[in-house]
């Protein structure tokens, strides 16, 4: 029932990836950076699948690192986004969920992974909003809430939460005050965001900047 307009969201996710920078550190870093770039920028399912396959190979070899699973999952979300047929979208999202759960098993309290979980739920809504909206938007909200709780500095968790709140406010025709407040907080966090992890996620700023426009 909640027909959140998420179609343009994905594009916005991708815009902010131009300034990706990495510290260079050996074979693992090399391989990761190459493939992270693909999942951030590619819109070809074939390319994405190759990157995801490589990330899964890395994940299988580097048994203690969550980042390969995280980006494999993110890659599947992007594949789902580039797919038109609903049933196939679901197959990719199921794969995204599986990879995300593997990351989650390694780092259950990593805010970024929990935020990604919410993002996958959000994408599941878009496949069939009328029948899934009610349940999956609840799950998405819950994940974003938890992600913010785990790390109040995580700009992606706040940005995605703002998206959900905005959609909800639109649906009920109520003012988007709460959504906009969350969003400006997200923007603030994007500006101050620093991670010691050179492979930390960097996407989502465009989505937040775009909503700043809508909130004006």
């Amino acid at each position: 029932m909640k027909t959140l307009s998420l179609s343009s969201l994905i594009m916005l996710v991708l815009i902010s990836t131009a300034q990706i920078t990495f510290a260079n550190d050996g074979k693992y870093m090399d391989a990761m950076q190459k493939n992270i770039k693909v999942v951030y920028t590619s819109d070809s399912i074939a390319e994405l699948q190759q990157a995801v396959n490589t990330l899964e190979r890395i994940a299988a070899a580097e048994k203690t690192k969550w980042e390969p699973f995280y980006y494999a999952s993110f890659g599947y979300v992007m594949m789902s986004n580039n797919e038109k047929e609903g049933a196939k979208k679901d197959v990719y999202l199921d794969q995204a969920m599986k990879a995300m759960n593997k990351a989650k098993a390694l780092v259950p309290n990593e805010s970024e992974v929990v935020a990604l979980e919410g993002f996958i739920y959000m994408m599941m809504v878009t496949v069939d909003p009328a029948s899934r909206g009610r349940q999956y938007s609840g799950l998405a909200l819950q994940s974003f809430g938890k992600a913010v709780e785990l790390n109040p500095e995580n700009p992606r968790a706040l940005g995605l939460l703002a998206q959900m709140q905005f959609g909800m406010a639109q649906f009920f025709g109520s003012p988007a005050t709460e959504a906009c407040a969350t969003n400006s907080k997200a923007l603030e966090k994007f500006q101050s965001y620093k991670s010691e992890n050179p492979l930390a996620p960097q996407w989502g700023k465009g989505m937040v900047e775009n909503m700043v426009e809508k909130c004006k």
Partner: protein
């Protein structure tokens, strides 16, 4: 020293030179190429992805004994040992399709699944709650599906020519005795369990799993919700009472409680009723639910329902309206259900539970008291898992204890207590055998031993399903079913055999692009039905029998028109039975040949409201006119009803809900009652059984308080 250096050097040189080329092709069983398969040299970064023709090629600097893994979504992984020594390796990998939940065929004969969790069901849990005319009653909503016959004066489920007691309800696999609230004679009752409690519903109109016994016609299997996610308080202000509920949620569990008070009196004061109430129904209901996670995937659930309902009314004589009898009912109902599930290993899980139902009906007819007590306990354990990729097994044991008594208080003589006690010990086993994603066979059997008639039995069940294409499938089901005779007969003759039925069902279903089409045909044979010996209701045997056959259609479409969701169902039924006092095989009073429903739900974004209309039609039902020579020769007028509901959401946490049945005000007649004595004209006088009021109007305001403002009670309406 020199030799050592040489050794070290030659080692280095040898390693550097040793690049092994690995190439090959990935295909499926039919030899068709699989692109995008992941080729992994295990525990290294090396590997590649197969191309459009299924080819792959990569070189690796790794050496020695290694394992090459080949993986693709929907197929079983292959692990191939390889020796890397510089010599090129070629591999022809054939992947076998996995039987997966998303692509495998499912058995659909006789079954309507509704689930919030599965994304492939054609009927959802929320559909039940929001069907106009059903006023959030599970049976009311299921009555719009094919396979049901509307029997308006009872409000209960009647499936495929079966009586309402042939349809049994199970919550989390555990039996429920009498799932309906008490109602005045000839007025519809409501289900005791509200649809919002459940995340999934499986409504089977025949051929169901060997797990479910003691049901001749239908198994309604309800799966309760898991732990609540958010702490919240809900208040409902209704035109017929009010309720308050609170849910406390924490990380690993939740506890919820609800108290509901219903008093129809003010409503009846406004709207004239056919019934001469002395004290209209007043009920107080308390519900409690506790949920807690166990381990990684396990869960404990406890649910309790405590209800008391009281009312009294005057029944008027058919012959003389001034002659009336006082009828008073006090109903006490308790239901407790405990459920446990956990995984045993990666492939096996167990679930089990205990349920206990206690129901007391104390009636007082003109000072004559009758006390009826019905108690049921059910204990069950089930193991489920897969023996291989293509074989799934489910097996379990259960014990059902049923204790019934009816006592006349005024007569202390215990001979006037009619009672029975039965203990049923049952075990079942069922296997799903997948030949491929396209074809599945389910074979099962249920063994029972019943102490009441000291009988052991085995009932086979079998179903098949075959995918005819990407969207269509054919399904067949056969099964034997048995059920102890209804309380009112078993209490008279404790030695009655169980009644038996056999189902044959053939189904075709096509789901494409949010549109569903179903057609189903069936034949059902009844045996050992309870029969009066020489028309004496106190002398019973199992000489009755009967049949039912029919064709049913279902169409659902939520694609063609934006924001509109609708379904249409039609059932044709041909049934006759010779049981109880029937002089010969004839159509029972609850059977109607044609049933039609159209359910629509339309969301209007501009006014933030969901509107729903439901139209139902039921052709005339037979009734017996003692003035006629032929039995059951009368036919009532057809039944029709147009209902409306609207849910309006002014903010995200408040809902206004309004519903009205029978907008057109049709005077539906469900049958006729006859006097048991001849009047002056030498005839038996009659009286029509009508709706208690032409319309039922309901207004409610539902408010939710929670930290998360987007939560509301919409899913509960």
């Amino acid at each position: 020293m020199k030799t050592l250096l040489t050794l070290v050097f030659s080692g280095i040189i040898w390693t550097a030179a040793c690049q092994t080329k690995v190439s090959g092709t990935v295909t499926n069983e039919q030899g068709e190429p699989i692109p995008f398969a992941n080729i992994i040299l295990v525990d290294t970064y090396d590997g590649t992805t197969s191309d459009a023709e299924g080819h792959f090629e990569f070189t690796t600097a790794e050496t020695g004994n290694q394992v090459l893994a080949i993986k693709f979504v929907g197929y079983t992984d292959i692990f191939q040992p390889v020796v890397l020594d510089g010599k090129a390796i070629t591999i022809q990998a054939k992947l076998y399709e996995q039987v997966s939940e998303l692509s495998a065929v499912t058995i659909t004969a006789g079954s309507f699944m509704a689930s919030d969790e599965s994304r492939r069901t054609i009927f959802r849990a929320v559909d039940i709650a929001s069907t106009a005319g059903a006023t959030a009653d599970i049976a009311g909503a299921l009555n719009t599906l094919p396979g049901t016959q509307k029997v308006g004066e009872t409000g209960r489920l009647f499936v495929r020519g079966g009586d309402s007691n042939e349809a049994r309800t199970f919550i989390d696999g555990m039996a429920v005795l009498d799932a309906y609230s008490p109602s005045a004679p000839n007025t519809p009752s409501r289900g005791r369990f509200l649809p919002f409690m459940f995340k999934g519903t499986s409504f089977s109109t025949g051929g169901y799993s060997a797990e479910y016994g003691q049901a001749l016609s239908s198994a309604l299997v309800l799966d309760s919700r898991d732990k609540a996610e958010a702490t919240r308080t809900d208040i409902g202000i209704l035109s017929v009472g009010g309720d308050i509920a609170h849910t406390q949620a924490w990380d690993r569990g939740s506890i919820a409680g609800k108290i509901q008070y219903t008093n129809i009196r003010p409503y009846f004061g406004l709207i004239n009723q056919e019934i001469d109430w002395d004290v209209p129904p007043v009920s107080l209901e308390g519900i409690g639910a506790f949920r807690h996670d166990v381990g990684k995937q396990g869960m404990v659930k406890v649910y309790g329902n405590f209800t008391q309902t009281d009312y009294s009314l005057y029944q008027h004589s058919i012959d003389d309206d001034n002659l009336k009898y006082h009828y008073d009912l006090a109903n006490r109902y308790r239901y407790i259900n405990g459920f446990y599930k956990n995984t045993l290993s990666e492939k096996w899980m167990m679930r089990g539970g205990v349920s206990y139902t206690y129901q007391q009906n104390r009636t007082n007819i003109e000072g004559r008291e009758i006390n009826e007590v019905d108690k049921g306990a059910h204990v069950k354990t089930v193991f489920e898992g897969s023996l291989s990729d293509k074989v799934e097994l489910k097996t379990g044991v259960e014990v059902i204890n049923h204790d019934y008594s009816q006592a006349f208080d005024e007569i202390a003589d215990p001979d006037f207590t009619l009672s029975f006690n039965e203990v049923i010990t049952a075990s079942f086993v069922e296997a799903d055998l997948y030949a491929s994603n396209k074809f599945v066979t389910r074979i099962g059997a249920r063994a029972e031993y019943n102490t009441l008639m000291d009988q052991a039995s085995i009932d086979p069940r079998i179903s098949l399903a075959y995918k005819t294409g990407a969207h269509g499938q054919v399904s067949f089901a056969y099964g034997k079913f048995r059920q102890t005779a209804n309380n009112q007969y078993a209490r008279i003759n404790n030695n009655l055999d169980p009644e038996k039925a056999e189902h044959f069902i053939l189904n075709y279903q096509r789901v494409e692009n949010n549109r569903t089409f179903r057609i189903e045909t069936y034949y059902k044979r009844y045996n050992d039905l309870v029969k009066y010996v020489n028309d004496d209701p106190l002398d019973l045997n199992n000489a009755g029998n009967g049949y039912a056959k029919g064709v049913e259609l279902f169409w659902r479409d939520n694609q063609s028109v934006d924001n509109l969701d609708y379904w249409v169902s039609y059932s044709y039924l041909d049934t006759e039975r010779n049981y109880l006092d029937f002089p010969s095989a004839s159509v029972p009073y609850f059977a109607s040949a044609h049933n039609f429903s159209l359910v629509t739900k339309y969301f209007v974004q501009a006014v933030k409201s969901q509107l729903g209309f439901t139209y139902s039609y039921t052709s005339g039902r037979p009734y017996n006119n003692p003035n006629e020579e032929k039995f059951n020769s009368g036919t009532t007028p057809y039944y029709s009803d147009l209902s409306f509901n609207v849910a309006y959401l002014p903010t995200s946490s408040v809902i206004f809900y309004f519903s009205c049945t029978n907008l057109l005000g049709r005077d539906n007649i469900f049958g006729y009652e006859y006097s048991n004595q001849l009047n002056d004209a030498g005839q038996y006088s009659s009286r029509a059984i009508r709706q208690p009021a032409p319309r039922f109007v309901f207004l409610g305001i539902f408010i939710t308080f929670s930290k998360n403002k987007s939560i509301n009670q919409l899913p509960t309406l």
